[in-house]
Assembly symmetry: C2
Homo-oligomer: 729 residues x 2
């Protein structure tokens, strides 16, 4: 982990390129540090001024006469290399480089940036930027930025750390956080990321005692392993991470490439990474901050109240208490979409409510009706009754404008006050119009407040998910599959010399590899002549499939290299002859004859559906597994699920559910039910094999896995290796 | 259309059950009318007080001595019938009944409500309620409600009319509208809807000169025809309607049933109704009001800039101008999701921007970068350049906190001011933090302002859609199919006596009905004996399909009544013999033998996909057509589309796209492309046949339509008629 203490808790700061004009890039940080109360030493460096904004100026870093923790660099790009030499001489520990004109400005800039990064590394300087808006530590009132935005107000000090690749996004986020009163610990923008990346900041915040929730804005990630490590560190520390990742669509991704030098990966792969580490993803700014608010301030539902949702994610039973039936329905709609169960009101509480208000609805949503105005106590009793009943993980209440009503507020205070002191009471979330002072009072007692009723319900889902992840802290890795060192080499040793030389496996070899790894495959054999083909077919029992085995001919169906459903020896012989002839006619790209490697004879597997599974190499995040329904449906509905290999069985199961492939196992249309965990285990085993092959593997595809009464059976497999890694085996 | 003038523009108001205590249900309206400046006459009716809140009280309505326009009724449910008699005697035109304890309180209440509705109708009194929160006319300061909420402030008078079935929702919406500064014309809550329904209010607002946009909250609709008529009236008047309809999920729908006496229909059917009338649907309160804001204040993109999106909906080319690359990407992501094209910046404007800021991105999103601070004029020139270029329907700009910056604001004022006077300039939407006074200035010049960047993009999609609908005003009906009177009777006259007696068509009859209506069906014939079956098969050419024809045996495959892919006369004879035997063994529910009606012999249609089409009767909205991919896929992905029958070809086409069935026509996997309009016309023809059958029809299902090179061909059809309407034919 990169140490950011010198960057974010500096005892002294030099401003290189310090300006006497406070609104210039080199002047603003001095103004901010002085006006807003930074307690450390500030050294303006300016060769042509004796004094800068009332501070003694230094001609060079050397003149300061002591090492400084942090240097803020605001000199032209061309001078940056020289400054880095000075920093090395001074023993400066960290540098924030505002300057633009580096990688974002073309090839020349890219070269300068590489040099800057190299000299910072050599000098042991932690580098933020270039082309960034800087960093702040709100607690220490440390403002290493040239944005004037802190002059118009500073958000409260709090436990949310914010890191943004984009400066403009960071500034806007700062303003919105201030407006929403969201308490921040640190604020960091990483710009061109020549040194520090968003991932480094996340990893450091995961260990910062003043940060409890991490908000990150990402345009693209160049070092997938670093990001995964950082997210893993945050999870291990029990700190929720909220990410906004833009470029989710083709249009967005195109702009991301033109906007920064970073690689915008396929969105589904990012989502798989976020899912694997329990990251909360926000798609709007409003959601970004709302998640920050919920996760930093919200009480978690009790362990005893957490359950698994349909897709294996954590949910918790919810009570909705409302003064408006209509709004209660809106909230119930949202709860159902999020998979939150709405168990009915316990009998005692229901009885009490019905006695007080005969027309009240004691189903869940619990509708106390407009009678709340006349009988506020009944509403409060219902609220306290369900919160204490032990039947719910959270209680979401809609009170319209009620909290502000002079008759209701004291009653609400009394109820919330008592519940906040009761460790067994379920956390409460309130939706309605609430004045700022009352809102602050409620929040201080752990009661979150929302304007939009649906947001209170969404917060419950968020808190259930966060609680499950925080609860699994430490035990985190146990639910995950891990690559096994050396297994890949062992598996590859069994391959033919040809396979290793050409970096491609014939289908027979691919099937063997799968079978060795424990993946169910169609019973099969390799035949070199027609007699052998018939012998194998008779051993397996008809009908059989005959497929051409060749490393050279990739599209075997194009040359008649696939014969399905062969019913007798005659048909097998004919198929063999056709394929042998096709190979004899074929030529390699260089015009050479194609060697005949034989045909694969396999039992014709009968089932009622096809699942496709693939593992491919993502340039940023490595091996990624994909699963979905095979055949025409996948092309039409494009509903596939993605996960990082190796997958745990639970992750594989979630992927089968998300891609709807699980529906093929449910036993519709007279088909028997197939155990979903067993099917998931097959997928996990495939991903484990891919992970074992590790660096050697290029792609592995099984299309289709046939869904049969005995479970998934691989009927076709393609495995290709990476040319540059083949020799290593 | 029901006339609401007496309800919403009353010259005099009687409050029956008037209370001397201003915070009681019978006291609050008097307080509101007096304190907030209602100019008409107010008559408290209270038999036991001489004066009520400073006004002379009347012992009964008769004592008033003149007919009043509106009576506000706040007496117990049991007394309401008596009050209605008094209203009739007085000649009162409209009544708002606050009282609860009617339909929502069980059977007794339901009976009282029916009586109330009947006497109101007999007396010619327009009835709002019971169990409602009343109504307001903001312009006339007419507050016929017992909610104290207007005491704490009144929203500005404006052109948005709001109608809500739920009182509590209405009150909350009122408070949020006030807070957002959204100008309202009228506010109406309909409660139990014994008289006026939400639909009646929509229809009246469609003709109210003071209302331009209609916001409606609906829990359930009991009279589908009335709602459709109202939505049609609004569309004809060119007034956008925004609807929040709760109960979208099973959980929500269950609560809706317990909350009101209204029928909550299947959500997809409501959506089909909303789609058919161009209703804007909101799923959150925030969206409800945002749509109200956008539609009431937003300038529409020019006609020349409107295009058709992938699904046939209206879109418009958008320019995104941003000071943050990251936020630009977020906006581009949203634009792509909404199908808004982002054409590149015209050359001249791009050239000018690149000259001023070499690192600026002139792709779209157009990223002026943080240089906006140093060079505000460049941003303004880019904005004006794209707005005037004629290449875009709208311009969405992200300016972060820029509008509030002292150096930027005058420049922005100058630019927006000039653009607002240029009729050829594209409408501008701004995202960023903007102070209230500046925001008001911008809005007054037609420039909408948002906090969330994505909302500016969503607004563009909304405005494009609204503009298309408003543009089609009057011509509205020409794009729609209409049921044709009398056609159904003619079609049914050709049916056998048995079909009419049993309200069910044999498959042969169903196929004939389709063929007569112009729907392509598999060539076929009806065979009474084996020889005839073979003769027909040989006429058609092998392979053929043989299916049992029977009105009694609904699940013919269960008794071996379907034989596919028969290759010769022998196979046809065998199939015939099997089916004849199955019929001989079968018995009706009452134990009677099943008559043999023959077998259908049809050509085996070969294709590469199956589309299912069905028409069923929705209890609220009538005939609804459903389309989707047939076979297993539809069960797994459940992606079907729904529309009101009869469908226009454009509607049918949109349904094929929405359900992904259109993908089968795209010519993948070596299949030829099938003309989508021709396929859509088949769907439209089926829906037209269903509409012609009208009241006679129960269900019509074609599953599958086979997708062939010649287009869709029906291979199976089921038609059932309604028992109570059969005799009529």
């Amino acid at each position: 982990m990169v140490d950011l203490n010198s960057l974010l808790y500096p005892r002294s700061i030099a401003v290189v390129g310090a300006s006497t004009q406070p609104d210039k890039v080199g002047g603003m940080p001095i103004r901010l540090l002085r006006e807003l109360g930074y307690a450390g030493r500030v050294y303006p460096v300016n060769p042509s001024a004796a004094e800068v904004q009332g501070l003694r100026a230094y001609g060079s870093l050397a003149d300061i006469g002591e090492p400084v923790d942090l240097a803020i660099v605001a000199v032209p790009a061309s001078a940056s290399q020289d400054v880095m030499v000075q920093l090395a001489g001074n023993g400066t520990r960290a540098a924030v480089v505002f300057t633009s004109g580096f990688a974002e400005a073309g090839e020349g800039g890219m070269r300068m940036q590489d040099m800057l990064a190299r000299s910072a590394r050599d000098a042991g300087v932690t580098l933020l930027g270039p082309n960034c808006l800087g960093a702040m530590n709100l607690r220490e009132r440390m403002f290493a930025t040239f944005s004037p935005i802190p002059l118009s107000g500073v958000p409260p000090v709090g436990e949310v750390g914010l890191v943004s690749q984009s400066g403009a996004f960071g500034a806007y986020a700062y303003a919105l956080a201030r407006e929403a009163g969201l308490g921040l610990s640190h604020w960091v923008t990483t710009g061109n990321e020549a040194g520090l990346q968003v991932a480094d900041v996340i990893a450091w915040l995961a260990n910062d005692p003043n940060t409890r929730v991490i908000l990150a804005y990402i345009e693209g990630c160049r070092d997938g392993a670093r990001l995964r490590q950082a997210l893993g560190a945050a999870r291990a520390a029990g700190k929720p991470v909220v990410v906004t990742k833009v470029g989710t669509t083709a249009a967005g991704a195109r702009s991301a490439q033109s906007h920064t030098a970073s690689l915008t990966g396929e969105d589904a792969v990012y989502q798989a990474v976020f899912d694997a580490y329990g990251v909360h993803r926000a798609h709007t700014l409003e959601e970004f901050f709302r998640l920050g608010y919920v996760l930093s301030r919200g009480r978690r539902p009790a362990t005893s109240q957490r359950a698994a949702g349909a897709d294996g994610g954590a949910v918790t039973p919810l009570a909705i208490v409302t003064v408006s039936g209509g709004v209660g329905i809106m909230m119930a709609d949202r709860a159902e979409q999020l998979g939150l169960p709405l168990p009915p009101m316990p009998d005692a509480a229901a009885e009490a409510l019905r006695t007080a208000i005969p027309f009240a609805s004691t189903a869940n949503p619990i509708d106390v009706t407009g009678q709340v105005v006349a009988q506020p106590r009944v509403f409060m009793d219902a609220l306290a009754g369900v919160a204490r009943s032990g039947a719910y993980g959270c209680v979401a209440a809609f009170l319209a404008g009620g909290a502000n009503a002079p008759r209701l507020w004291p009653e609400l205070q009394q109820t919330i006050g008592a519940l906040s002191e009761d460790a067994n009471a379920a956390p409460l979330l309130l939706a309605g119009i609430v004045d700022d002072d009352k809102r602050a009072w409620l929040e201080a007692r752990g009661c979150l407040v929302f304007r939009e009723p649906g947001h209170a319900v969404e917060a419950v889902a968020t808190l259930a998910r966060a609680a499950a992840l925080e609860g699994a802290r430490g035990a985190g890795t146990s639910t995950e599959a891990e690559p096994r060192q050396g297994m890949g080499d062992a598996r590859l040793r069994n391959l033919s010399r040809e396979a290793r030389a050409q970096c491609a496996l014939s289908e027979y070899e691919a099937m063997r590899l799968l079978a060795d790894a424990g993946v169910p495959v169609a019973p099969h054999g390799l035949a070199r002549d027609a007699d052998e083909a018939v012998r194998i077919a008779e051993g397996l029992g008809y009908p059989v499939v005959v497929k051409l085995c060749s490393r050279e001919i990739l599209h075997k169906s194009d040359v008649g290299g696939v014969a399905l459903n062969l019913a007798d020896a005659q048909a097998v012989r004919e198929a063999f002859a056709r394929m042998a002839q096709a190979v004899a006619l074929a030529r390699t790209e260089s015009g050479a004859p194609v060697p005949f490697e034989g045909v694969l004879v396999a039992r014709m597997v009968r089932g009622w559906g096809e699942v496709m599974v693939g593992v491919r190499r993502d340039p940023v995040f490595g091996l990624v597994a994909l699963a979905g329904i095979g055949g025409t449906a996948v092309e039409i509905f494009r509903q596939t699920a993605c996960g990082l290999a190796p997958l745990s069985r639970a992750q594989a199961r979630a992927m089968l559910c998300d891609s709807r492939a699980a529906a093929l196992c449910e036993g519709h249309r007279g088909n028997p039910e197939v155990d979903l965990d067993t099917a998931a285990q097959v997928l996990a085993t495939v991903s484990q094999l891919a992970a074992d092959l590790g660096e050697h593997l290029d792609t592995l595809e099984i299309n289709p896995f046939i869904v049969t009464a005995q479970g998934l059976v691989a009927a076709d497999a393609v495995v290709t290796l990476r040319a540059d890694r083949c020799s290593a085996s």
